[in-house]
């Protein structure tokens, strides 16, 4: 089998290279310029390479190359016990790692059939929405930087630090959070964490309103973004767009509403949609989503139910340390969980959450062992980044940069 594949490989590869060289040769005859954008260009905010064919300032064609930070998470996951896979998910969309962590936890809980208490679900909602705010905040402020407005970026960056302070109080880490456990949260919200969230809810709306005021009606910003990198709803769906990028084209698909998870059905919020699917619409949709996220956090914060912060699932959820030292059962469970000696039931599940960039899906097959048989991540960035070529063709180089930052392509999620 290996030899067969190998010959097919090499033939195909050679054919592709010949074709590519021919195409480049053709383009050279037309006096086009080849421009290498990336892999480490400061304006790409990550490691992506695009070989552009330019006619003056206009992009005629682009060949994207990805995979520079591919870390084989799907392969690694096949050898790790379930609880050790959470840190891998952190490193996908590192701008909103709690969403990834909790999406993964919910997938495993679906496989195990664990019921999560309301309080844990509400805490998760608060943390996920905070993560969404920090994700959108980075995307929109970087869009400002790329169009020449640096001030707003530094101003809202401070608020991201406050969000990270909340993460730190809840789980101890700031960027790659590894937050929560299979079965709930690792600890309850401390009084300090509640205080920090309350402070954030008071302070942040003013900051965000000011940031919006700086860009939304800014003449330079509008000139740079309206009509740039537009995509129609039909093409966007065909390209598998989800999240804010799809909603900017006018399609109101949001996983939180269509397939509610973690008690999202309890909250009142709206799904903002755009119209033209251009960079400006994407900016507006993300702005409005930040307000909606604040609304959700407020509701969850006010109505935080009493009860336990984790499910009663001793086989999968680590017992409290005090009990490990004093009770035989707790010690056994602790040992088995940490060593990864607990077998998961057989099954096949798909669970998706609304990540910072769209539908973040986990497709998990368990054969009844200590590790997943197969774990596939549906990474929204990977799926919609392939439309980038189509979106920038015929535009100018400076517009390509803005399109890239408004798509919010995160290299970690792109390459997994």
């Amino acid at each position: 089998m290996a030899t067969d594949n190998k010959t097919a490989d090499t033939d195909q590869l050679q054919e592709f290279r010949d074709n590519r060289d021919l195409k480049l040769q053709d383009k050279k005859n037309e006096n086009l310029t080849t421009l290498n954008l990336g892999p480490t260009h400061p304006a790409t905010h990550g490691i992506f390479q695009n070989i552009l064919q330019m006619d003056g300032e206009v992009i005629m064609d682009a060949v994207p190359t990805i995979g520079y930070i591919h870390r084989a998470f799907e392969k690694i996951a096949e050898r790790r016990p379930f609880y050790q896979i959470t840190p891998l998910t952190d490193r996908m969309n590192y701008c909103s790692s709690p969403i990834n962590n909790m999406g993964y936890h919910m997938t495993v809980e679906k496989l195990l059939g664990i019921e999560i208490p309301k309080r844990a679900q509400y805490i998760r909602v608060i943390m996920m929405e905070l993560a969404r705010i920090s994700d959108h905040l980075i995307c929109n402020s970087i869009l400002g930087v790329d169009s020449g407005a640096f001030t707003g970026f530094l101003y809202v960056m401070q608020e991201r630090e406050h969000i990270y302070d909340i993460y730190e109080e809840v789980c101890g880490a700031r960027l790659t959070t590894n937050m929560g456990r299979i079965g709930g949260m690792e600890r309850d919200l401390s009084p300090k964490a509640l205080h920090l969230i309350g402070e954030f809810l008071k302070r942040f709306p003013k900051v965000w309103a000011e940031f919006e005021k700086m860009l939304t009606r800014n003449r330079i910003f509008i000139d740079r973004t309206v009509g740039v990198g537009a995509i129609s709803a039909e093409r966007a769906l065909n390209y598998g767009f989800t999240g804010p990028n799809l909603r900017a084209t006018g399609v109101d698909y949001d996983v939180r509403v269509m397939n509610p998870y973690s008690s999202y059905e309890d909250f009142e919020f709206e799904i903002p949609v755009g119209e033209k699917g251009d960079t400006y619409d994407r900016f507006l949709v993300r702005n409005e989503e930040v307000w909606q996220s604040l609304k959700i956090i407020e509701q969850a914060y006010k109505n935080l139910p009493e009860g336990s912060y984790h499910a009663d699932a001793p086989h999968y959820y680590l017992p409290p340390k005090q009990e490990v030292y004093t009770s035989m059962e707790a010690l056994i469970y602790h040992f088995k969980i940490v060593m990864g000696e607990i077998d998961a039931p057989k099954g096949e599940v798909y669970h998706s959450v609304e990540g910072g960039n769209g539908e973040l899906g986990f497709y998990l097959i368990s054969d009844g062992g200590r590790t997943p048989y197969r774990l596939h991540f549906r990474r929204p960035c990977f799926i919609y980044y392939q439309a980038y070529t189509e979106m920038i063709k015929g535009g100018q180089l400076a517009d390509a940069i803005l399109t890239l930052s408004s798509l919010n392509v995160i290299a970690g999620e792109l390459d997994a």
Binding site: G67, H70, E78, R79, G240, Y253, G340, Y363, H376
Partner: protein, 168 residues
Amino acid sequence: MELTNENVLGKLIAQFGEENIRDAYNPDGIMTFTTNRENIIALIQYLYDDKDLQVQFLTTMAGIHFPDHKGMELCMMYQLHSLRHNFRLRIKVFTPAEDPILPTLTNIYATANWMEREAYDFYGFIFTGHPNLIRILNIEEMEYHPMLKQYPLEDQTREDKIDTYFGR
């Protein structure tokens, strides 16, 4: 017509025959069934065009390797979503390891382009008719398809890491 797993399955069996829509089961609320590679494109096109179903969104594609299933070692999973009716379904196609050839889906879904390249890269599926079937995340010079189960994550012959407690 209300879209339930049974209704849709009945409709598909009526259209394509029982020998082509088989092994239907429901592992997690999403109906899953198996079809042949001869029918996969016609089936997905039918789901796309049908007025009642409108399954027009390709959520994801994933390769799976079952080295113990002789004659059908490789599996391609297509997960589709009807955004109109919020109905999801999962289609599986099995191929032998010596002959991992499938027709391309890029003519229906532009998004299948990179998904198929990923499946080729990691599992060695060959998609006939694909516009640009080259590796996507690994280097072009790589000579194997790393997600196949015969390639262990760690070198199994290493002797300096034996530790029975950790299952190595």
